[in-house]
Each structure stands twice: as structure tokens, then as C-alpha cells.
Amino acid sequence: MQASSSNQVHRSSHRLEPVLSKAGWLAFCSLLTIACVVVPILHAALPTSSALQIPTYAVTILGKFACFAMAAIAMDLLWGYAGVLSLGQGVFFALGAYAMGMNLMLSIGSSGVYRSKLPDFMVFLDLKTLPWFWRPFDSFWFAIFAALAVPGTLAFLFGYFSFRSRIRGVYFSIISQAATYALMLLFFRNETGLGGNNGLTDFKNIYGYSLQSDATKVALYILSAAGMCGVYILARWVTTSKAGRVLRAIRDQEARVPFTGYNVVHFKVFAFTLSAMVCGLAGALYVPQVGIINPGELQPANSIEMAIWTAVGGRGTLVGGALGAWLVNAAKSWFTVVLPEWWLYILGTLFIAVTLFFPRGIIGVFARSKA
């Protein structure tokens, strides 16, 4: 291990650590195979009577979790590595989701309730023509681009102005939460032109494929799972680079970093923007699977929940974020069905217990027991 890593350093002067160790690559590839090959096979090849068969609804739920895991990795990249706790990650997620939702909305065409070429809610609001900012969303690829660019731009601007004036730590958390709240109010308005209270829903097709069909659902799941793995590698690639080292320096001792010649603002803005774009991508993959996006997704509570996914799994590990997202959401799915009145107690206790007793999360507990 030791030898191979020093070997890596030697070969690439920009990378202080390998993106993944050999064992890591092995684990990663097997996980990728399980997620993207084994699960679909278990779903499609086995008869429905089999205990191992994964039903369609479960595949969709797994796809949803993969999107959450992506958002959690983005959160970890920002919080675990740069030490910036943004309580507005849900905004970027929702913006990505809205961008994709707009394309899905337009691809309904005239088969909506009102048989109009306009989306139903616009007919309802008595609009005659498509608002200008809806027009480019006719194109699927523009929607994908917007799902990355809109959150990215917003994060860049918000981050630049905040970090530049040295708003950091809890102040940044609070301000980002307030901005989230304000944006939620904005999206609740009918005048914003994004469906108001009801949001966007009743999607029929994506890129010409029916959203009702089994194959589309499985394909979306595979995309989400692959996306999650891809995002993980991307995040590893960033955090193992020199930039990643600078980010960690900022996290641990922000006041000293400028003296080593690095511009703190640039690095933080970079991490924030990247994390926002990943969240946007996650949202874009999320919306066709759940079939609805409304302003409820922008609630400040959702953004804070993303922080707890990361904290439960273990901050500053990337794997931890993904793991936490899966575990917390699996628990949520189960409890809200079986013991709905207990879920808030569990979630609340989770917040308290993780911060008090397991500040390094599940990964931290395992790492300690191994050592």
C-alpha cells in the first residue's frame, strides 16, 4: 500500500494521493457492477414469485436513494472538505429538478388535461403563450445543461459575494438557510411561472420514452446509480488533488491559508459551485423517477436533512455521505409507513446523537474499531 501510493505521487506531480487505492478500485468496481448490472438482472430476469426478485417500485426507490446519495456526496465535498456547511443544498437540488421538470412538462405536448400545447397549469392561469424562459426547455439537452448551469451560476454568485465578505461558519449556514426560505416563497408564487404551489407534475415521456414503462424506470435507475458512482470518483479526484489539500487546510485553519499564497475565496467558491452542480444533476435525475417537483422540496428542513445524511455516514469521507443518505432514507421510508408518528423522534434523536456521540459518523466508528 505504502509503496504503491508513493509510486503514484512520483508519477503525477499534481496528485498527492491516488484517486483510489487498488483495493478501493476493486471495491468500487464491484459496487458499480452490483448497482448497475446485478440489480437490473435481479429485477428483469427472475420471476416475480422469487424472493430475490426486485419489484419495479423498489428499483425506483433505489434510484431515488442514489440521487440523494449524490447530493450527500456533494454536501460532504463542501462540508467535510471545505468546512462550509451550506443549508441551501436543497435549493440546487430543486433547481436541477425544476430544469428537468420543465422539459418533461413541455414534452407532454397536447396530451394534458386541457388538450393544450401549453402545460396544464398555464392554461389554468389563463396564459396564452409560453413564457420566454420556458422556450429553450423544449430541448432535452438544454434542460440537462440548465440543471447544471443554473445551480452552478447561483452558487457561484452567492458564494462569491458571501465568501468575499468573509461570511463563514455558522453565519454562512444561517444566511444560506434564509436564502433558501426566500427562494421557497418565490417558487410558491404563481407569478414565478413554475406551477406555484402544485409545482410540475403529470409527466408522460422523457426523451421520447414513456415514463410509465418498466424499461424507462430501470434505465433511469441505472443512470442514477452510475451517476452516483461517477460523482463519487469526481469528488475523490478533486479531494485527492492539491486543490483538495488546500480545501482541507481551509477547513482546519482558514485564517492561515492566505499566508501560504492561496486565495481562500477562489477555493471555497469552486467547492461550492461544484457541489451545487452535482446537486443539480441529482435533482434532474430525481424528478423523472418521482414524477413531481414542487416548492415543498425547497423547504429549509430538506436542506438540513442533507447535512444529517452526511453527518450520519461520516464527514470528510465521501463514502460516508453516500452511505448516510442510503441508511437515513431507508429508515425514513420504513418508519413513515410503519410508525409515522415516531419518525420525527428518530430523526431528531439522530441529529442529537450523531453530533454528541458520533461526530465522525458510521465510517468513523468503523475506522476507530479497526485501529
Partner: protein
Amino acid sequence: MVGCVFSTATHAALADTWAADVLALGASDVNEQVRAVNRIARRGGTEAIALLEALNDTSLQIDSTGAAYRKRSSGGVVPIGPHSPMPPKPPIMAPVIDNELRRALEMTLATLRLTSPDSRVRRRAAEEIARQPNDSLAPVVRQMLVSERDVHVRRALALSLAWVDVESLDPSVRIKALLAIADSPGTAFKPAVERILSQTEHRKPVEVDAQVRAAASKALSAIRWLETWTNLLSNLFYGLSLGSVLLLISLGLTITFGLMRVINMAHGELLMIGAYATYVVQQLFLKYLPNHSDWYLVAAVPAAFFAAAIVGTIVERLVLRFLHGRPLETLLATWGVSLVLIQVVRQLFGAQNVTVANPAWLSGGIELFAGFVLTFNRAAVILFSLAVVSFVWFVLSRTNLGLQVRAVTQNRDMAASMGIATHRVDGWTFAMGAGVAGLGGVALSQLGNVGPELGQGYIIDAFMVVVLGGVGNLAGTFAGAMGLGIATKWAEPVVGAVLGKIVILVLIILFIQRRPQGLFALKGRAVEV
């Protein structure tokens, strides 16, 4: 008083005809009712006015002996005049009034009140008549104006005539009417005055007489001036009352966030607990002291303070004590606490909102002048918030605990080495911050709905105030809250409530660009923590 002596002297005879007249008010024949109204009016006096007023607003109740009572909106009856013994003897009837009777009644009542020897009664009657156009009363008013001496009554009477006279064919009457309007302007006259100043399709003035037009523009500018002031005052009042609410919700946070560096996301839930404590006290009063239920609010103030302080102490002991100097962790942990508290309240009181009623002495308001009502509950919130601020200021700057709190805030280690038990001070400080949040909850319960999610809506505003005002600074919080309140009320009519919120937020972020430490920066080494 004279009437009273007189009535006891010839009690039986008078009471007979009085009772007979009152009973006749309940007759099914309108003509008989009108005759009874006229007989009662001829009798005159405050008792007759009270009786006819009650008849006019359909709150009159007559018992079987002909005694009259007024039904209160809150339930129960009050006797009218000395001939009505309590309780009324059933069967009780409420006279029915139709339009014919109402017209007769209006006229009679107006005459009766305008001839009252008491100038205050006359003035009130005249002002009421002047509030809306009333052609049928104009002759009566004109007649009264001849003999009236009191300047205020005269002014109100002239104003009530102005409704009719602006349409008069005689230009000099129109001018007089417009000058009366200019003399005591009201927004209700605006359409009529603007009509006079408007132009026809051919760009010709509607009003041909230049002198009338001059009088009309004088009246219009007086109305506009009044409108400006009304807007200004009501914006200021609503801004101050919103600012007071913001102050109450953020004051506790200034203490816990500012002084202890604890990001208490459960602060909103402490507000909620204060509001629910108010609800519980109200229910206890309704059950055990129903006759004094209006005073539950007074008892709710200490109850809410201690309820929130106790919950706060528990949270501090069990959670926050272990997270010292790790503000981001306190943020997450207290968010967890808030989720638990919401669910506890939901299970104890249900997910639905509960009703917390304004006590009678807080409902309603006084109309300071046309279009501007000073509501008592908002005025009370302003006073209450000032009282709470004074209390907090007193504790922090004039007590031993406050001295220790400030010492710990400035330099924890140094304070500890001077012999201050920092942990104990933390406990007391947090309890006080939580208790003050509970007081905020009392105020919120009087202004809006009380439900388990009450606190969630306020937490972000509270943090904004603290960030804007400068952390841990009472004066800053005060200025921040009031400034934010007034700015919001100014922005709302211009850009709408939601955009207003966004605009204010953007302004706060821009403001922090210029002054990262808030309005009032702490000086010294403690700043760069």
C-alpha cells in the same frame, strides 16, 4: 340625575306608559311601531336614545313586562334605563325592524341625538352622519345647523351636508360644501371631489365654474395630505408592531447565540412552547376561573417564561453543555431537538392549530382618524416588547448574573480564572434566553395561529435580526428588529409580501458586505472568534 328623581317620584304612572311604549315597539304593525318610536322620542333623554339605538342595531330585547335590555355581542344582556330589573322576565322578544321603520327610526334618532343637551352626544351623532351620504337626513341637519353653537358639531354637520351639496345646482353652495370638505378632509369624499376636477372627452373641465374648481382642488389637496399622513402613520405603526414581534422572537436568540455562541435552531420551538403555555393557562382559566377568564393573559406571562426556561434548561443540560465551542454542531443538534419538540407537542395537543382568544381588553382598537385604526393587540405587543427589552437590559447590565454573563462573553477563560463558574453562568444564561423566547410566544399567540409548526416560521427571521443587529448586542438587536420591521412594511406595498422578503434578504446580505459585524460591532479581541 334630574330625570332619575323625577322618575322615582311618579314611578308607577310613567313606568306604565314607558312600558306600554316599549311593548309597542315589538308590535307586528309597522305603523304602530313608528308611533311608539315617536312617543318615545318625544319623551327624550339618554334612556330614550339608548333604547332607540338598541332598536336600530337590532340588539334590543323586550321582556314580558315591557322592560328593555340590550344584548351584548359577548352574550348576556344589560338593562336599559332604571325601569328594567335584572333578570328579565321571559318570554323575551326581539323586535323586528323593516326598512320603513328603519328610515323613520334613523330620522328620529338623529334628531333626538342632535338636540341632546350634551355637546359630546351631538358631536358623535353629527360625525356618524357625516361618514356616508344620507339625503333623507339633510333637511334635519340643515335645520340643526341654524341653531348649533358648538364649533366641532357645526363642522361635522357642515361636512355631512357636503355629501349632498357638492351636487347642488348653485355654485356658491358647491363651494361651501367643498370648503367644508377641505376643512375636515376624509378619503370618502375623494371620488366626488375628483369627479368635479375631471375633464370631459373634449378636454373640457366637467365643472365650468373656476371658483368651484379652485375650491375642489383645495379640498383634494387636503384629502391627499391626509392620505399621505395616514399611510405614513399606519406604515410606521405596523412597522413598529412587526419590529416588536421580531424583537421578541430574536431577543432570546441574541442572548443564546450572541452571548453563548450556541446556534439554537430550537429557538422557534421555545416560542411555540410559550404560545402553548399561554393556551394551557387559558384553558385552566376557562375551567376553574371562568369569571376572570379575560385575565388569563396576565398569568400566562410568567407561565410561558418558566415553561420555556425549563425546557431550555433541559436542552442545555442534556445537549448543549457538551458542544461548547462547536457552533456548527450545536446547529445540527438543536435542529434535532426542535424536531423532537414539535412531535411531542403534536402528540400532546394534536397537529391542528389551537385557539388562543384575545381577551376583551385587547380586542378592538380606536380609530385615531379616518382610515387609521390603532388596534389594541398590536399596541400591546409594542409595549410588551419594550417591557421585555427593559427586563433583559436590566438583568444584563444591573445584576450580578449579568455582570458574570458579560465577563464570560468577553473572555471565557479569563472569567473562569477570576472565579466565575462559567458552566453555571451558561445554564442561567440559556434559561433566561429560553424564557424570553417563551415571552415572545405569548405575544405571538395573540397575533396569529398557534400550532406545532409555529416556531418554524419565525426562526429564520429571528436569525436575520441577530445577524443584522450584530451578535450579542442588545442595542443592535433592538435597532435591527425595528429597522427590519419598518423596512418590511415599507417594501410590502411596493413590491408585494414575498418579493419584499427577498428584497430585504438581499439588502441584509449587501449590508453585511459593508459591515460584516452587524450594525453595532463588538469591540476588542472577542470579535475574531
